[in-house]
Symmetry: C2
């Protein structure tokens, strides 16, 4: 590939530029769905897309598309990611996939002209669920599974209704009587890893073959609140003592089971939460992920049984509520192999890996051949103003994308 | 003893009467230092004391005394407890000691006339620390260890300064240039157990021989916050995982060590406390109590060493801050034996036991021969509107107090 010295600088500069839309005085970027900053960011991206000689359009809900039209306009290869951020997020998560896509299309147009089929970049309206209690609003509308009833009655933390915010931003519901678009032949998403495997192994590009399945639980242990001084140990039903044994044992079990299984107790609360009161209640969450559905189920069954045993030993009550249960989403074998071959042929320093985080790609994968590319994240930091990827690694990711889009878009 | 059938009813009725002062619409009693309800309660007690033919007076800070004068007015036997409550507390904690004292003095005056030395009941201004960040204001002023500088700059949760509240209630600082009173020969406090040992063992009266020492800690574990999905288990410094192992092991160690050692982790917090983020910080409190100083020190040293080992295994940082370190306070051997003998002679169903909670008695004990009497608490409930003791048990406690005060006050 020619003229790629400037690619690192151009990518890094564009990410800083986009980060201005939603720059948060408390740090990082807060560009939430349908806010003023979000509208300005999408409009700025539209201008950039058009300045590169690509056709730009919004869909009904506010995702922005930039198209390099092909000879066959009935087929489209799509790339891109989400334009929204979490509150006080970094400037790479989602944004990098959009910027990489626009730069890839610009490069392909310049060097190879008109492709066989459309090559399109999308800046998806929303993925994070950071403003309203709904996520993947962009991708779910593209593949046609988002429903108006899912969002008609939801509000943000300030009580602003979703529909009002959407209409104030100039957008509206898609026409659910029409089916989703049928021209998509592939979707390739470029994203920052949000983990530290690539950095630790000193590899520049991750070719993603699988997105983990995950199960999330809330566990509530009920013992008996008591005076910390006057209640002998043998009389107690200490909910924190029971919860501690459970957490220690299930995370130990997860570590013994080994990669790629991950288990996290991120949230914990004791009641009444007073230094001199034996806690009568303990509530905690569990987040378990694995690339293999059977393995995920087997582990969570083992985990639940272990917690049941412990609650009985401690004579406390336990309720477990599984409120998220997402299957793993394998990427498309052929697209993955195509990308791998591109990486090899172009001498990129890459490895095959899974994604431990959810992405728009998991929404596309069941209906469109999909794959993802990762670039390293400094110390795995994400959802944080300190999120960072070296410009040279950003460029490697764009190079890998260019190669993939070339294979997918310019070959008959 | 004669005429004790009515004692149960009279005690229970007086506790309900006193509970009206500070009755909280959200439940129970909230009678906090220097509030309007507190002033009204003290004034109502003063009227009752005077109606029984006893001399009533306030000290400078607002503790109320009722005296049955003796032949020798240079010696005084004191009984009583604290008039303040926690927010939404019960009607027995503190109040019972005051009511029992007034009823005991009334009985003794009626049946035995003038004692050898003064017998006095005190309704102490404050003990709980429930309004201002200072506790034992009543007892510490009586024994002369409270200092104006301790409270001059403190405010309650609404920002009201201590001094302003004290002066608005009509009270002020004691004269620190004068030493404390020197006439106290003994102090006997009657209190509800706030535990469930007496109830479980079906015993009516506890003769307290020791108040536990206690040490309280705040422990802060610092690991590394990370993405719950993309961070392999081997890369983590999970502060909640480390904290859970610590809590499980130190409470297990405490249970193995056995009574009277008690260890409680009442408060716990994870940061950032989000379901899908490996917690970078965990903060928890530890409350350890024992009747024997050496045993308390030995256990807490073992506990600290164990936690240090665990933090090293987990490669997390740990800070431990011991912010309370109170020695056990043995009760006076002679007074305890005198009370025990009284209980035996009067056929009371009693046992010797320690107090796992702090009381005004721990403030008196270093300077005045002191002992305590407990009566059972229903299910050990305290600091709660559901706090309860059967009227018959209340009466047993008053009987034991009458016996003790008779021995201490009427014998040469």
């Amino acid at each position: 590939m020619q003229n790629l010295d400037q690619l690192a600088t151009e990518t890094a500069d564009r990410l800083e530029w986009l980060a201005e839309f939603g720059k948060d005085p408390q740090g990082g970027v807060s560009r939430l769905l349908y806010t003023k900053e979000w509208v300005e960011g999408q409009n700025a991206l539209k201008e950039w897309i058009e300045s590169e000689g690509l056709e730009a359009r919004f869909d009904e809900v506010g995702s922005l598309f930039g198209t390099l039209k092909g000879k066959n306009t009935n087929e489209t290869v799509l790339t891109g990611s989400h334009v929204d951020t979490v509150k006080n997020g970094g400037r790479f998560d989602g944004a990098y996939g959009i910027v990489a896509g626009i730069l890839a299309l610009k490069y392909l147009k310049k060097h190879f002209g008109q492709p066989v089929r459309n090559i399109e970049v999308v800046s998806m309206a929303e993925e994070e669920g950071s403003r309203f209690p709904y996520s993947f609003w962009g991708s779910k509308n593209i593949v046609g599974i988002a429903k108006r009833e899912d969002v008609e009655n939801i509000n943000d933390f300030d009580g602003v209704p979703f529909v009002q915010a959407m209409e104030n931003a100039g957008f509206g519901f898609r026409d659910e009587s029409k089916g989703p678009r049928e021209d998509l032949k592939a979707f390739v998403e470029v994203h920052v890893e949000q983990g530290s495997v690539l950095e630790t192994e000193k590899i520049s590009v991750g070719v993603v073959n699988n997105i983990v399945g995950q199960r999330r639980y809330t566990v509530e242990i009920t013992g008996e609140a008591n005076h910390a001084g006057t209640t002998p140990m043998g009389y107690r039903k200490d909910a924190v003592f029971a919860a501690s044994q459970m957490i220690y044992e299930i995370i130990s079990m997860s570590r013994e089971t080994g990669d790629p299984l991950v288990t996290t107790v991120g949230k914990i609360e004791a009641l009444p939460n007073i230094v001199n009161v034996v806690p009568g209640k303990a509530i905690f969450t569990i987040d378990v992920r694995h690339t293999d559905k059977e393995a995920l189920v087997a582990f969570t069954e083992q985990m639940t049984a272990k917690m049941q045993d412990i609650s009985e030993e401690h004579t406390v009550e336990m309720t477990i509520d599984m409120w998220m249960d997402e299957d793993p989403v394998p990427m498309n074998q052929q697209v993955v192999e195509l990308i791998e071959k591109q990486c090899k042929d172009n001498g990129l320093n890459y490895k095959l890996m899974h994604s431990g985080a959810g992405h728009d790609s998991q929404i596309f994968a069941p209906v469109v051949p999909t794959a993802m590319l990762f670039v390293p994240s400094l110390k795995g930091i994400s959802h944080n103003p300190a999120e960072f990827t070296e410009p040279t690694d950003l460029a490697e990711g764009v190079k890998a994308l260019i190669g993939a889009l070339y294979e997918l878009g310019y070959k008959e």
